[in-house]
């Protein structure tokens, strides 16, 4: 399938439909994000589960696509996206962190074993150009166990896991949807400076609340955590709450804005 993908991208470039392709490159065994401008470069295009396309460069405070778009107004970029990448892309566009103008979405659906490796519920973009949509993981067994816990068990669970946190901010830095210049997870008012483990549970509560309506379910947070904290359980729970309360699913519709993105009353339930 990778050969088909490379061929497709080369065609787009040759036909002049895009100025470059944004995807992942095999760089001496490591997989890194790259803007490809020639067919020869595209021979190193790969798809890899644990590497994501969207993230905010700090302290530049922008993602790479935005940097390109700022430097070259009107540039046309073909972006190779899997399901999670597309969800992040659409949310970032809605939140004005990059523009969809000039972006050609090259959707690639993941196969079943890739979906299982990422414990992904939706391993496909909306309209994949390559690959067949397969059913995602119906429910992560870790989530099932978590749901069954009684409140005291849950509290003890989080006390144990969040107590391991070394405050590396990897979860925040790796997240495609985290781009705030002034991050509330760094705010002294809420998070005591220099204290480890960070204030329980406020430190992680900031992240789960702020991502509730924008999480792309890519798992980057959990992959970046050196202490194996099951962060995805928190994010998934919040995402499900947003869907149940407001009928909103991040990354599913470029026109549907988050209920928290505007001041209208919305359809929230009270209490």
């Amino acid at each position: 399938m990778i050969e088909e993908l490379r061929a497709h991208c080369k065609e787009l470039l040759a036909a002049g439909r895009v100025d470059c392709i944004y995807g992942l490159e095999d760089c001496d065994g490591a997989c890194v994000p790259r803007f490809f401008t020639t067919a020869a470069e595209l021979d190193r295009l790969v798809l890899a589960g644990k590497q994501r396309l969207f993230f905010t460069c700090r302290p530049a405070d922008r993602n790479l696509v935005a940097l390109q778009q700022a430097q070259r107004p009107g540039v046309r970029i073909g972006i190779v996206v899997r399901g999670c990448d597309e969800r992040a892309l659409l949310e970032l566009a809605k939140l004005r962190q990059l523009s969809l103008e000039g972006v050609e979405v090259i959707g690639v659906a993941c196969n079943r074993s890739q979906a299982e490796a990422c414990r992904c519920a939706r391993p496909y973009p909306r309209e994949p150009v390559l690959g067949e949509k397969v059913e995602g993981v119906a429910e992560d067994p870790a989530l099932t166990r978590f749901r069954r816990m009684r409140p005291e068990e849950r509290l003890a669970f989080w006390h144990h896991h969040l107590g391991k946190c070394i405050k590396c901010y990897g979860c925040r830095n790796a997240c495609p949807l985290c781009f705030c210049r002034e991050c509330q997870m760094e705010r002294e008012l809420f998070v005591t400076p220099g204290a480890l483990p960070p204030d329980f549970p406020l430190f992680h509560f900031v992240h789960m609340m702020h991502l509730a309506d924008r999480c792309a379910d890519c798992g980057a947070c959990e992959d970046a955590c050196p202490m194996d904290i099951p962060l995805r359980l928190l994010k998934t729970t919040m995402r499900e709450a947003v869907e149940a309360l407001f009928g909103y699913r991040p990354g599913s519709d470029p026109a549907h804005r988050s209920p928290f993105a505007d001041i209208s009353r919305g359809e929230a339930t009270h209490g």
């Binding site: 001496d28 890194v32 790259r34 890899a48 530049a60 390109q68 590396c168 990897g170 970046a224 050196p226």
Partner: protein, 131 residues
């Protein structure tokens, strides 16, 4: 298109975590972990995540500085090197020490300890990571 990744190793401690340095238009704009790295496996500590910051820090020295009358003042390389060499020679091995840095390359750190041990004849060399 001016956006490239350069793979490197974090300079801050002996673990040697993999870094993917994001370079855009000749400037270092960010750091990513490297998921396939055998040591770091896609994770970084807070120092690694911010390893790029010192490169463009406004506090970086751009010229040698010599302390004159209690304040640090810009000087030429010739002035600075001559002064340092003269004072090191005058002090002798028992009275010199050198402190190196995690923000230097391994090669620079090697040169520092070689200078102190072989040239100046002293054992007094250390590194900021030990503080």
């Amino acid at each position: 298109m001016a956006s490239i990744s350069t793979l490197s190793v974090c300079p801050y401690c002996g673990a040697g975590c993999g870094l993917d340095l994001q370079v855009h238009d000749g400037r270092l704009v960010g750091v990513r972990p490297v998921p396939s790295h055998p040591v770091s496996q896609g994770k970084l500590c807070i120092k690694g995540w911010n390893a790029n910051e010192f490169v463009s820090s406004p506090e970086r020295l751009t010229v040698p500085l010599i302390r004159r009358n209690g304040t640090l003042q810009p000087a030429t390389w010739d002035e600075a090197v001559s002064l340092v060499a003269a004072r090191l020679k005058a002090a002798g091995p028992a009275r010199v020490a050198a402190l190196s840095s995690a923000k230097c390359t391994n090669e620079e750190n090697y040169l520092m300890q070689k200078l102190v041990r072989s040239v100046l004849g002293s054992n007094n060399v250390d590194h900021c990571a030990r503080l």
